[in-house]
């Protein structure tokens, strides 16, 4: 009888262990959705907070500063949705991503996986499908914002 109870306890522990492991794994990952997003690569801090003019070529220099400083970069679409770029395929960093640094203020179409959580749309980019370069020539109206050259 003692042997049977011991085997039952071991089986129960194993079952609970597997169940807990599965639950933990599920908690660590979020639901993803395949998307294609078209918009401008923007400096998330300046753009969302609107603390300064933060669009197109007029804000390019500042966008480079912020991206190099490790502030998350977003793709802002025409409906003013912000998709925070959390991963670029093939790169091991999402802080001052070298490839994103080179396309600040560009109009792009990217493909990737979208994860939404607690008020943020996170984008895991698998491909930059199109890059039109900088199309918003705001510097012609506002110069260089902020601080000038």
């Amino acid at each position: 009888m003692r042997q049977v109870l011991k085997q039952f306890a071991v089986a129960l522990a194993l079952t609970l262990g597997v169940a807990l492991t599965a639950a933990t794994a599920q908690a660590a990952t979020s639901e993803t959705k395949r998307v294609s997003v078209t918009g401008e690569i923007v400096d998330t801090w300046c753009s969302v907070t609107m603390i300064m003019f933060a669009e197109g070529s007029g804000h390019y220099q500042c966008a480079v500063w912020c991206a190099a400083g490790g502030i998350p970069v977003s793709v802002k679409d025409e409906d003013d949705n912000y998709y925070v770029v959390l991963k670029v395929e093939g790169e091991d960093t999402n802080v001052a991503s070298p490839s994103i640094l080179r396309i600040q203020a560009h109009q792009v179409t990217v493909e990737g996986d979208l994860i939404e959580r607690d008020g943020v749309k996170y984008l895991l980019v698998t491909q930059v499908a199109n890059d039109d370069g900088i199309v918003n020539l705001s510097h012609e109206d506002v110069g260089i914002q902020p601080f000038g050259k």
Binding site: A25, A28, T29, S30, T32, T44, W45, V48, T49, M50, I51, S57, G58, Y60, Q61, C62, V64, W65, C66, A68, G69, G70, I71, P72, D80, N81, Y82, V84, L86, K87, D92, T93, N94, V95, A96, L101, R102, Q104, A105, H106, I115, R117, D118, G119, V120, K121, Y122, L124, G133, I134, L137, H139, E140, G143, I144, G148, K149
Partner: protein
């Protein structure tokens, strides 16, 4: 005299508190928010892709609150810099932060202004980027780092200050 000293000390203690609290920026949707949370690698938290020590500063960091909310730590107290280096020493640990929770229309995120171990008296200003930048670039400090940074200077030299090589810049 003793009573006067005690009164003076009390007044100073009370007045010192608010002056050292998080600085408001006047941003739409901002609220001063001081709380304890677990510092996490955001990509790890969302996908299970978890390098050691939250990527050692190469991953964006977030704050996982006790009610299960994930707050993206978007900005630090260094001008034009994020908060990854401030939070990475706390990877997987509880930390108390003080700063601004910004609930803007398009998204919600957090600006870390200072942080400390839960229960500790002393706060650390969230300026880890400044220290790291000055050390890496062999400078005394990181004053106007964004004008001196070699990566930025190389990009501006290549693409120009408006991102378009050869573009004419109108005079202000």
């Amino acid at each position: 005299m003793k009573a006067l000293m005690i009164t003076l000390a009390t007044v100073l203690a009370l007045s010192a508190g608010p002056a050292q609290a998080a600085k408001e920026w006047g941003i739409d949707g901002e609220e001063v928010a001081q709380f304890e949370a677990k510092a996490v690698d955001v990509l790890c938290e969302l996908t299970g892709d978890c390098p050691p020590n939250c990527g050692d500063g190469k991953r964006q960091m977030g704050l996982l609150t006790d009610d299960g909310k994930l707050r993206l730590a978007l900005k630090s107290n260094t001008s034009f810099a994020g908060a990854a280096l401030d939070l990475v020493p706390w990877c997987g640990k509880r930390v108390e932060v003080d700063g601004l929770l910004i609930k803007a229309d398009p998204m919600t995120f957090y600006m870390v202004q200072r942080l400390r171990a839960p229960g500790a008296k002393k706060w650390t200003n969230a300026r880890a980027f400044s220290k790291a930048w000055a050390k890496e670039n062999k400078q005394k400090n990181a004053s106007r780092w964004f004008r001196k940074d070699p990566t930025i200077k190389a990009l501006i030299a290549e693409f120009g200050p408006v991102g378009i090589p050869g573009a004419k810049i109108p005079k202000p």
